[in-house]
């Protein structure tokens, strides 16, 4: 039978925001009521920086909709025992029964109070990849807001799988939760493990492809030849986790092998802390009256406060200063008398002198000549002094950038890397200017949708940053969440995102094991745990033990697409209408992760392309029903009226679409009000669009100046300096935190406290993982290889593992069939291509096929994605290995920001040998 002529064909506009590289706009073709194919939205070609195109993941959404393995009715667990080897015995129930069960539990909890005896929220929630689930959960944020305190600290990957240190230090230094190259203007990019052409979405792929045609050079520095490396001009196969040595070598060349005049002297003098004078105690010399840091004024020949009008700061040198003070931890003031004050820049030069390329070569296995050449190419390409006109304003043009990838900018060594990267930009004036290294968005600071407006003047001429207090009066001595973020990590702050950015592995670890001198209330189990678009039983580390912890949770409510390894322990499965079945309006445009740089701002609608399958219900309907049944309706509607969830308040200047708190609003009623209010806010009332308008058109935008891509003009306007190179604030905060912890007889964070350094010292970051093996009683020589994880565009962060189409097309990309092994190494172990192998660490083993390649270091194995499923339909039959199964969780492997990295020492052998 040939295909019948369709009776109706329509194309429905919507968006894909499955990974942080979105949102991308697209349409879905619907033939006779059936979604058949995803296509670009060419109506958006002029405004969307990827010209209305979505990446390969979006093309899996048709199968995602009709996947026969979906959970399509609410299900209740019938087996009270939980565990990997306990069949949950899920039985279908009605929505009424399911919602009443949740609501009864919520009411019962609320009656006893939101916090338990340990002061921790009784309700916890975990959402997956980088906040993207919020773009699929309708009005659930309003429900969560209506509830009150919730513990978001059980991570599903955040902190350990993301570019975590970049997030925290990036926001501190240049309001850069994520950092990118200003690719459209760049000429030279040093990409250290940044797998941009895989993880950064269609916008980034297009920008970098354009740049290649234009002739830019990208140098890819990483242990294996990734897709991004393949598309780069040069691959530098560095030894795993030695990136700081490589970067220190680059800095050495710039500051120790070139005269100062080769660098961007005005930028260093006026926009950085380079001229600030550092005293013998390692703290800034300060004016005793104002406590302001001093610099040496070449014009008057004396030390003056940094903001003295008309001063000409000395960038280099050592000067005698009388009568200055320094301010140490806990506001301890040192009267210094007459001392030598050294400029921060000179301190830097002296600090970097030992880190020669020759020194780095021995550590990172990159020839000194290569390091020196790359540093000099970078400096030459920086074109110091060049300018460019952007929207009528002349700005510096510094077409060089350094980008960092996962496991480079998280975990031990990451502080050194992000400091080095930002400093490399500062040295040539390439921070936050056209062509240079730029931030994309803020999450710790606000407002989230406009990082330039998040700039506020702080102490000492630097950006304000809301650290968690470490002074004796205000330090949080008791956890407010199970990952202890407020106690341990000052820099993460206490914004709504901070908890999920804290040391999320501690939330899991401390459920089972705590240091002897923990000296805080033992963390409790959450009484109710919501989970959505997140599968920590696969996506975290030491997953066997993690599953055991999840199994202890007394009441887990999972919004479920299919059964998976985490919701296998759930008490209730609630099937939400998925990507192509439900309604949500989001903001688009501006600047965003990872290279989403638009020249407009706007709004886009996700809408039901087809009706929900089975009994799946719109998340907004679920949220409203939960609020109503839990007795939270008025608070929920009030949250909707405030615009909770990232869209506009329903009442603003010149418009009022507020909802009645006494009535449970319908799904369309809510989104119609949101559409009208958000478009009114966007256009200052010029163009108010209702839900029907968005259903037809999909999106609307207003123009935005490209000047909003760059922070430096705003810093100039506020008279602010970037807080580099010297980290006096971090040094002081670290000392203060040490004082607090030691006052409470807590010494178990001392290793992390050592990271608070004003100028980062080299330390053997990889050694932490080697020591973990030895500490566990194993022999390092039994685990001679490094295992790393790398991402996959086809699978990246979107729960695509059960989508057959993704499996089929991913197999065209090397590495998706198993574990990448250097062919010479494989020969040494007698391993043939395609042969099944055991990859074993000191905590366990994972199994898969060997994929032989020349494109990986001989001492390194690489696994793409996160697999080793045992419950998720389709995925559990793939037989793929996973680093997560055999990567340990340990306090020793947590850095001061609370992050870890995807790296572990392993042995590999043929399965036949393993069985013998």
């Amino acid at each position: 039978m040939a295909v019948q002529e369709p009776r109706s064909v329509r194309k429905v506009p919507t968006y894909c925001f499955n990974c942080v590289a979105g949102p991308d706009l697209m349409t879905v073709k619907v033939v006779d009521g059936v979604a058949t194919e995803v296509e670009p939205n060419f109506a958006a070609a002029d405004v969307h920086p990827a010209q209305g195109r979505a990446c390969v993941k979006a093309y899996g959404l048709v199968q995602k909709t009709y996947n026969p393995n979906r959970v399509l009715t609410p299900m209740r667990r019938s087996n009270p025992r939980k565990g990997r080897h306990e069949d949950p015995g899920f039985v279908p129930i009605s929505w009424d029964e399911a919602l009443d069960m949740v609501a009864a539990k919520l009411r019962e909890i609320r009656a006893r109070g939101l916090l338990d005896e340990a002061g921790l929220p009784r309700v916890a929630a975990s959402f997956g990849h980088g906040g993207t689930p919020a773009r699929y959960m309708g009005t659930f944020p309003a429900f969560l807001s209506a509830w009150g305190r919730i513990d978001y600290s059980f991570g599903s990957g955040q902190g350990v799988k993301c570019v975590h240190s970049e997030h925290l230090y990036g926001e501190l230094w240049h309001r850069a939760f994520t950092v990118a190259a200003d690719t459209p203007h760049s000429r030279y990019v040093i990409s250290i493990g940044a797998n941009t052409d895989v993880t950064a979405g269609p916008v980034s792929v297009k920008r970098h492809a354009d740049a290649r045609i234009r002739g830019y050079k990208r140098v890819q520095v990483e242990p294996h030849l990734s897709v991004t490396g393949a598309c780069s001009a040069e691959w530098v196969p560095i030894r795993p986790k030695t990136d700081p040595a490589f970067m220190f070598g680059l800095i050495h060349v710039l500051v120790c092998e070139h005269p100062l005049v080769d660098l961007d002297v005005p930028f260093l003098r006026d926009r950085s802390s380079s001229p600030y004078l550092v005293g013998p105690d390692g703290l800034y010399l300060r004016d005793p009256a104002t406590r302001k840091p001093l610099l040496w004024d070449e014009r008057s020949g004396r030390a003056v406060p940094f903001d003295t009008a008309g001063a000409v700061p000395a960038l280099t040198g050592r000067y005698t200063v009388a009568g200055a003070i320094s301010v140490d931890a806990d506001d301890e003031v040192h009267q210094l008398g007459t001392v030598a004050g050294t400029t921060a820049f000179t301190k830097l030069v002296e600090h970097m002198r030992r880190y020669t390329p020759e020194w780095a070569e021995g550590i990172c296995d990159v020839p000194a000549a290569t390091i020196r050449r790359i540093a000099n190419e970078y400096l030459a390409a920086a074109s110091i002094g060049a300018t460019i006109e952007i929207d009528g304003r002349t700005l510096p043009l510094r077409p060089v950038a350094v980008t960092l990838g996962k496991s480079v900018n998280n975990g031990w060594g990451a502080y050194e890397c992000v400091w080095s990267r930002t400093l490399l930009a500062v040295l040539v004036g390439a921070l936050e200017v056209p062509g240079g290294t730029v931030g994309t968005m803020v999450r710790i600071n606000r407002p989230h949708d406009d990082r330039l407006r998040s700039v506020h003047v702080g102490e000492d001429g630097f950006l304000a940053q809301n650290f968690n207090p470490t002074d004796r009066a205000h330090w949080a001595a008791q956890p407010t969440g199970r990952n202890v973020h407020k106690v341990l990590v000052p820099i993460v702050g206490d914004s709504p995102w901070s908890q999920a950015l804290g040391p999320t592995q501690l939330a899991w670890m401390f459920q089972n094991e705590r240091p002897a001198d923990f000296n805080m209330p033992a963390p409790t189990l959450p009484e109710l745990w919501f989970i959505f678009r997140s599968n920590p039983a696969i996506a975290f580390w030491d997953t066997h033990h993690l599953v055991d912890t999840i199994a202890k949770f007394p009441f887990t409510v999972a919004f479920a697409y299919t059964v998976d390894e985490t919701n296998y322990m759930a008490d209730l499965l609630l099937p939400e209408a998925s990507d192509l079945e439900s309604t949500q309006l989001i903001r688009i445009g501006g600047t965003g992760c990872i290279e989403q740089f638009w020249k407009s701002r706007g709004l886009a609608l996700r809408q039901p392309v087809v009706p929900p399958q089975g009994e799946a219900r719109d998340f907004t309907w679920i949220s409203t029903e939960l609020a109503r049944r839990a007795g939270l309706l008025d608070r929920y509607v009030a949250a909707l009226n405030r615009g909770t969830g990232g869209v506009a308040p329903l009442k603003g200047e010149g418009y009022d679409y507020s909802l009645d708190p006494a009535q449970a609003p319908g799904v369309d009623q809510i989104w119609d009000a949101v559409c009208r209010a958000s478009s009114a806010e966007l256009t200052q009332g010029r163009a108010v669009h209702d839900l029907d308008w968005f259903r037809e058109h999909g999106f609307c935008t207003v123009p935005m100046s490209q000047l909003e891509w760059y922070l430096t003009p705003v810093m100039e306007a506020h008279g602010l300096r970037y807080e580099l190179p010297y980290q006096e604030r971090l040094l002081r905060v670290g000392r203060e935190l040490r004082n607090r912890l030691h006052e409470h007889h807590m010494n178990w964070w001392d290793k992390q406290l050592a990271e608070y350094q004003a100028l980062p010292e080299w330390h053997d970051a990889a050694g932490h993982w080697e020591q973990a093996v030895i500490k566990a009683g194993a022999k390092l020589e039994d685990f001679p290889l490094w295992l790393l994880a790398s991402k996959s565009m086809q699978y990246h962060s979107s729960g695509n593992t059960s989508i057959a189409l993704m499996r089929e097309v991913a197999l065209n990309v090397r590495g998706h069939a198993g574990v990448l092994i250097n062919a010479t190494t494989a020969r040494r172990y007698g391993i043939a291509d395609g042969e099944r192998v055991e990859i074993r660490s000191h905590i366990g083993a994972t199994y898969g096929k060997a994929v032989l390649t020349q494109g990986v270091r001989p001492d390194t194995l690489v696994i793409l994605g996160q697999f080793d499923h045992w419950a998720t339909p389709f995925a559990k039959d793939l037989g793929l290995p996973s680093l997560n199964t055999i990567a340990p969780m340990s306090l020793d492997l947590v850095d001061a920001t609370g992050s870890g990295a995807d790296i572990v020492r392993v042995a590999v052998r043929r399965m036949a040998e393993a069985a013998a």
Binding site: M1, A2, V3, V31, D32, V34, A35, T36, E37, V38, E39, P40, F42, A50, Q51, R53, A54, C55, V56, Y59, G60, V62, Q63, Y66, N67, P68, N69, D197, V198, P202, V205, K206, A209, D210, R212, I213, L225, V227, G229, A230, C231, W235, P237, M793, Q794, A804, L805, E808, V809, A810, N812, V813, R814, N822, A823, T824, Q854, G855, P858, F874
Partner: protein, 215 residues
Amino acid sequence: MTRYVMAIDLRRCVGCQTCTAACKGANATPPGVQWRRVLDIETGEFPDVQRTFVPVACMHCADPPCEDVCPTTATKIRADGVVTIDYDLCIGCANCVMACPYDARSIVHEQEFAYGDEPMPPEALGADHSRLSVATKCNFCQDRLDVAAATGQVPGRDPEVTPACVNSCISGAMSFGNIEDPHSNVSQLLQQTKNYRMHEELGTEPGVYYIWDEA
């Protein structure tokens, strides 16, 4: 005169397989059948290694070996250069599969679905029994080209009449158009760049050009 060709800029391609997936959606090909895909080719030895992404599909040759060996004349060349297969004439002998130097043709004998024996609704809608036991391959989305012939739209410029893979390409690597028109986008692009066609030495006159540098 019209001859539709494709130009693929290898400097742009990142091997993401978006075109592979888009083609499968647009043409409802069964699991395992890929009318187009992107090869991931590694050359050299560590540490001097190159990895290259090369999209491949039917090359729509001007002198296609598949046509020469077809015993039933099922394989033909249209006036616009598109190499087609008449499923009513094809007997599934696989001569063409063997003859094609580009590994571009597939034959399946049973209807297969992504998840077991039962089709999902889009699979049921797209299931085309006339494609069983016959050769299939990329046809440059010929239905769209036929629309263009009727509407006057320009393939390669107007998305509605441009092959799905070209529309989907996120790096902008793929271009499509009439090489006989010196003003078409592909003609202009090929003039401005260094390019080659795969296995040109075989004399098949492929209609897919690979761009590798500026002219």
